[in-house]
Symmetry: C2
Subunit: 325 residues, 2 copies
DNA sequence: TTGTAAGCGTTATCAG
DNA sequence: CTGATAACGCTTACAA
């Protein structure tokens, strides 16, 4: 494997000149430039990027921390990040953690180890204070609302989005509204929960624990919800379902069981995924693709300009009315 | 940022001893080991992995080449790869190429550049001969059948799988069978196409070009198929659909239009995705998760043992009968 | 069991 | 415009 020294010797120049050619520096005579390029081609020389990373202290790699790869929510975010990363010549290292805090710590350690230039956290089990400890080693952007922190964040206001979905249902006369969550212990769930309680008390409705359905992450669990609802002595007339995939599972099972939607059960999903569009699901579009792209842009800024303050950016959501309400 | 030299000085030992501690080498006295570990903790020292990568010539990173991140087929494969990679302390660099050959070349170049220890190709537009040129720089595993090559491959026999799906339909009396493909110019499509022609001629049925539907990659395109079928003067009584997601789109649209499945149209999907299970789709399970895991295992072996020959491994598929046929 | 010193392959600095 | 030479931070013979 040829190295820069051999190229220099064969081209009859110094290693610095070769390096300059490699990095498209000005101040290299056309003659030497072509001579260097020719020997590079002749020897099929390829730079050892690890040496470059060592000396420059940068790798053009960023880590994406997420619990599961195979999940629509994260796939859409990834797509948005990927588009921007590609355009700016950054690589994505996918770190699937399964919400294991030890695995998550390893990802943060990569920042200390200089293996990556930054981290985008899509969802995490690590407390914000712990995350802040790593901010001195490099930029971190979270796709979750976390208030003013040492790290940046991009998010939508889940409380407001939840309220606007509730309002849409209430408008149609619904007062018995249930909702599903992916996992109880997440910032967005806490935001929704507190908004739920507020809206219920404004309506003068009691809070029924059994109308809050936990552990709904995929389509099959969505289908299972329908059965859980049927077992209830009194069941809600409308459901807010986090994730159009999950909602699609519920809708499919409802049709199978002859429960008409929206007459017997109104459904609002979240995320505006393609499956929701196909089945005519009313949904809250929280712009996941855009959120991913924006997360990268902010991280990129922070990498370029290391002493920039952390930014918190709220993105708009949009209620998309279709036929499930 | 502390480095190994400072640790050595403060602990009163040599850098080699620190290095030995860092790498859990034997032949370090307990006393010095603890002394080193204490100063590491005190100085919050973290190794600069780029220096390690430079000297060892390895990075523990592998690239995954795929056209789109947000697609069920690739997500499942990724999940399988991710599980094994995690267990073996390898990182996945996701390279979304959009089937752009220039982007794909950049990924192969990463191998020359020593940025990665190997590549798993999930799907590519680059000709096999071109891929072989890169094999001297490091191991490559493809998840496509490619015959005996310088690179390894894991695959299922698409021709055989296709035939067994056809047989299942023929068994039920179908003779007018159409099929969808993601893109015409792929190895699996070519395999299916040639098998299709063979089976038709065995049946004594003519080949009807209009029953081969191109460009079907996602659910919405699946739904669109149904409309395309309705416009046909004579339409097939059964469809083979690559991807349960696509098939689900077709099935949904069929129900919406009042076309009963399987009576008026039988459908067989591929990949055995959760959505297929939910809607009762008969499908060919081609073990994507297992394929991903196996791809990593083979790559891992090749990394560990560089002068090992390339391996080609065929995986079994399975016809899963449900209610869409 | 420990330390010295020679790399690994670049880029950065500085003098010409 | 060009070239020596010193980093970058680590691992690994080799010698003790």
């Amino acid at each position: 494997m040829a190295n820069i020294k051999e190229i220099a010797k064969l081209a009859g120049v110094s290693v610095s000149t070769v390096s300059r050619v490699l990095n498209n520096h000005p101040y290299v005579s056309e003659e030497k430039r072509t001579r260097v390029n020719e020997t590079i081609k002749k020897l099929k020389y390829a730079r050892n990027m690890n040496a470059v990373h060592l000396i420059t202290g940068k790798t053009q790699n960023i880590a994406i921390m997420l619990p599961f790869i195979n999940h629509a929510y994260f796939s859409i975010l990834l797509e948005g990040i990927g588009k921007e990363a590609l355009a700016n010549h950054y690589r994505l290292i996918i770190c699937q953690t399964g919400y294991d805090q030890d695995e998550e710590r390893e990802v943060f350690e990569m920042l200390r180890n200089r293996e990556i230039d930054g981290i985008i956290v899509l969802s995490t089990a690590t407390p914000v204070e712990k995350i802040e400890e790593y901010c001195s080693y490099g930029p971190i952007v979270c796709c979750q609302q976390a208030g003013k922190r040492a790290f940046s964040s991009v998010y939508i206001d889940h409380a407001r989005a939840f309220r606007s979905a509730m309002a849409c249902l209430i408008d149609k006369g619904h007062r018995h509204i249930g909702f599903t969550v992916g996992r109880m212990d997440s910032p967005s769930t806490r935001a929704r929960m507190s908004e739920y309680e507020k809206v219920l008390s404004e309506l003068g409705e009691p809070l029924r624990e059994e109308w809050i359905l936990d552990g709904c992450l995929d389509m099959e669990e969505g289908a299972a919800i329908m059965k859980r609802l049927l077992d209830l002595s009194e069941r809600p007339s409308a459901m807010l379902v986090t994730g159009d995939h999950v909602a699609a599972g519920l809708v499919w099972e409802a049709r199978r069981l002859g429960i008409s939607i929206p007459e017997e059960l109104a459904v609002i999903g979240f995320d505006n995924q393609p499956i929701g569009k196909m089945i005519g699901l009313t949904t809250i579009d929280n712009r996941l693709y855009e959120m991913g792209a924006e997360a990268f842009r902010i991280l990129f800024q922070c990498i370029e300009n290391p002493d920039q303050e952390s930014v918190q950016k709220e993105l708009d959501f949009e209620l998309i009315k279709r036929s499930s309400v």
